[in-house]
Structure formats: C-alpha cells, structure tokens
C-alpha cells in the first residue's frame, strides 16, 4: 500500500479513525452497563483505554482494519442483554408512552345536554 499521503489513504484513515471512535464509545457504554458500581467502572474503563492505546501507533491500513474487526467482534460478544437506555430514547421505558393524540379529534363539551332540551 502507498505510504505517501494520497487522498485515498487519508480518506481511509479518517474512516478508520471514525470507526475506532464509535467502537470505543460503544465499548465504554457497555462497560458501564456491566460494571454498575463506579469504582469498578473506573477500573474497567482504564483497562479498556490501555487496550486501545497499545495499538495507537500502527500505520498499516490492513492491520488496522483487521484489528478494528476483531474489536467489533469482541464488542458483539460482550454486549449486555439489558443495557441502560435513557427513558425517552428508543428502547427506553418511557418511549412513546404518551404519544401525541392524532389531530382532528376534539372533545365536545356539551355536558350531557340532549337534543330535546
């Protein structure tokens, strides 16, 4: 592969960096799902950070792709079955709890008045 900074190389590196960031974000949230107590979470989060930092200086595109694929496979293996999702977000407990009533429906305030009054 070309070591020179061509546009295609930079574009691929940028896409890989984005994948790494999204993977780190999901892995961190998953760590928080598994380790609910905060001191355990800090320990696990720093371990995760060490794992990401260890491969920071790899330059070869194919090696990076392979490592990202391995990371995503590990993430999929360790996904929590009942993750914490904010209540109003999709998947949370309050999602679509009180939907907006359809328009055109009104309440007629006739207080039980009948037509022969």
């Amino acid at each position: 592969m070309s070591g020179a900074s061509t546009a295609a190389y930079l574009a691929r590196r940028a896409a890989q960096k984005e994948r790494v960031r999204i993977l780190y974000r999901r892995a961190l949230k998953d760590t928080l799902n598994w380790a609910v107590h905060r001191h355990l979470f800090y320990q696990d989060a720093s371990d995760l950070r060490e794992k990401f930092e260890a491969h920071k200086h790899v330059e070869d595109l194919d090696t990076i792709d392979k490592m990202i694929a391995e990371g995503e496979a590990t993430y999929n293996k360790w996904r929590h079955p009942d993750p914490y999702i904010v209540p109003w977000a999709p998947g949370g407990s309050k999602f679509t709890r009180n939907p907006v009533p359809p328009s055109g429906i009104e309440i007629v305030y006739d207080y039980g008045r009948e037509n022969n009054d």
Binding site: K17, R21, I22, R25, L28, V86, G92, V100
Partner: protein, 126 residues
C-alpha cells in the same frame, strides 16, 4: 412530541423578572420556581445553566487543566486531548444531562461551543 416541544420552544414568551417594580431583587430562578407549569416538557434549561454545567464537567476531567477551559475551547486543539478523550467527555456530558446522543452526532462534537449548542437545542436536556 419533539415537534410539539420544538413548536413550544419557538413561540415561548420570555419570562420577565419584576425587579423594577419590587423592592427586593428576585433572582431569575425563584421566579421560575413560583411559575408552575403543568407540562413535563416545558421547563427548558437556560443557556447559563447549560454553559455552567458543561464547563464543570470539562473542568473535572482529570487530564484537563481547569484554568484553560472557556466556552469556546476546542478539545483537541486547545486542551491537547486525544480523540478517545473526546469520546469520554461526550459520554460524561450525556450522563450529566441525561441525554442519549446518536453515534454520528456524538462524533461531531469536538469543542465546547458545539456541545453547548447541541445540549441547549436538545428538547429533552435534563
């Protein structure tokens, strides 16, 4: 629901504090506390609250120098943080404001002013 709160936010009348007519000065928050709103989605954060809380979160990050944090600071350029540190800061902001930011949006939050804009314009920011 998001449309409704967006419409409500658009036509919201700003609350005027009655400091000119009253003898003792009332802080902004106590007037808002006495004005009881009957919907759970009408109480939005003010910009100062958002800025204060975002700056507190960024300042309490262990790798950040608290004296350099301003509302316009860029995480990677000005504070010298890593892209993974950026991810951690965005997660801390999500936890602070009880938000759920989609992955693509969270990737774009690079600086303090972007974070403040996003959180201020989010209808469900706690």
């Amino acid at each position: 629901m998001a449309l409704r709160s967006a419409v409500l936010r658009y036509i919201r009348v700003p609350v005027q504090t009655l400091t000119a007519t009253e003898s003792k000065p009332q802080p902004q928050w106590s007037l808002r506390a006495s004005l009881r709103l009957f919907s759970s989605h009408d109480v939005h954060l003010t910009k100062e609250e958002v800025i204060d809380r975002v700056l507190d979160v960024v300042k309490s990050f262990p790798k950040v120098d608290p004296s350099q944090v301003t509302p316009n600071v860029h995480f990677q350029k000005d504070l010298g943080l890593d892209s993974l540190d950026n991810v951690e800061i965005v997660m801390a902001l999500e936890e602070e404001f009880k938000l759920e930011i989609p992955d693509k949006e969270a990737d774009k939050i690079d600086a303090c002013n972007l974070a403040i804009e996003y959180i201020y314009n989010h209808p469900m920011a706690g």
